[in-house]
């Protein structure tokens, strides 16, 4: 595999289609600079600022870009808000489209056929396996990402967090809670 990738890189460089330094810069960006902390900041801002929250609901692409997080694939973002009545779960049944700009690269299980198929067929069962037990009356909405439209789940703000700063709140927002396979952490949890 490594030799094939090198071969491709050689051909593409010779043809002037890529510059090795630019390719290295992309690797560096995705390994170190982009990650779920970006999304956590978006969520914490929405929890603290009702105006921002409304904007995120109406036009997530612009609201997220205002914090400096823009997608490279020209994809649109939609924020889906969890409530007492409805929990949101994101999947990509086709491949593994994922909101990279706010969550970084997807975890292994997100790319696994088991998750990609079962999240749609049996979302409640999948959530149970992730340790998320929802009340029976809570509906589960499953959002299937595409190349053009990707989803960010805004988890519910945990109770007892009224006094926390935006930064402290962001620390409670896990990657999984923004995919929908988790909930935001309670403040007393590590």
């Amino acid at each position: 595999m490594a030799a094939r990738v090198r071969a491709l890189e050689t051909i593409l460089t010779q043809k002037g289609l890529i510059e090795p330094a630019a390719v290295d810069a992309i690797v560096d960006t995705y390994e170190t600079k982009v990650g779920p902390r970006n999304g956590a900041k978006v969520v914490a801002r929405a929890w603290c600022d009702p105006g921002y929250s409304d904007w995120l609901k109406q036009d997530a692409t612009a609201a997220i870009a205002s914090l400096g997080y823009t997608g490279r694939q020209g994809e649109h973002m939609q924020a889906v808000f969890n409530t007492e009545d409805a929990h949101n779960l994101v999947v990509c049944t086709l491949c593994s489209c994922y909101p990279w700009s706010v969550l970084g690269l997807p975890p292994v299980w997100y790319k696994a056929p088991a998750y990609r198929s079962r999240a749609v067929i049996d979302p409640r069962g999948v959530l149970e396996e992730f340790g998320v037990h929802l009340p029976a009356q809570t509906k589960i909405r499953v959002w299937d990402s595409t190349a053009e439209l990707r989803y960010l789940v805004v988890p519910m703000r945990p109770t007892g967090t009224e006094d926390l700063s935006e930064e402290e709140l962001a620390a409670l927002v896990t990657r999984d809670s923004m995919i929908g396979t988790g909930l935001a952490l309670e403040p007393y949890q590590p």
Binding site: M1, A2, A3, R4, V5, R6, A7, L8, E9, T10, I11, L12, K15, L17, I18, E19, A22, V23, D24, I26, V27, Y30, E31, R72, Q73, G74, E75, L94, C95, S96, C97, G104, L105, P107, V108, W109, Y110, K111, A112, P113, A114, Y115, R118, V126, E129, F130, T146, A147, E148, D176
Partner: protein
Amino acid sequence: MNLRDLLPQADDDRAFAEPWQAQAFALTLALHQKGLFSWSEWAESLSEELKQGGGAEDGSGYYECWLSALEKLLAAKSVATPGDVDALAAAWQRAAHATPHGKPILLENDPQHADWNRAP
């Protein structure tokens, strides 16, 4: 397969298991930025590979599918034929074998490099 089997890996926050996966990923993004293909074209190519069952149940074959999707897209765009890639990959492998440990691997280290250079 039970999703629980995958969860321990969910704590593993490394984006890529091996360096070549990161390279293949970045090549794709760079080519898209260059305008060689649209992201929808790419998603279609990748999902086609994944659908053919190349991806293992645990998601481990994902970047193999990724690479194969990229090669097919490049062939379709007449950028690189499978033959080009095979020949050059073999050259890189020969170069790797011929390079003493600790030295950078260069394509020039391929013993057949002169032949390869003369090839059309």
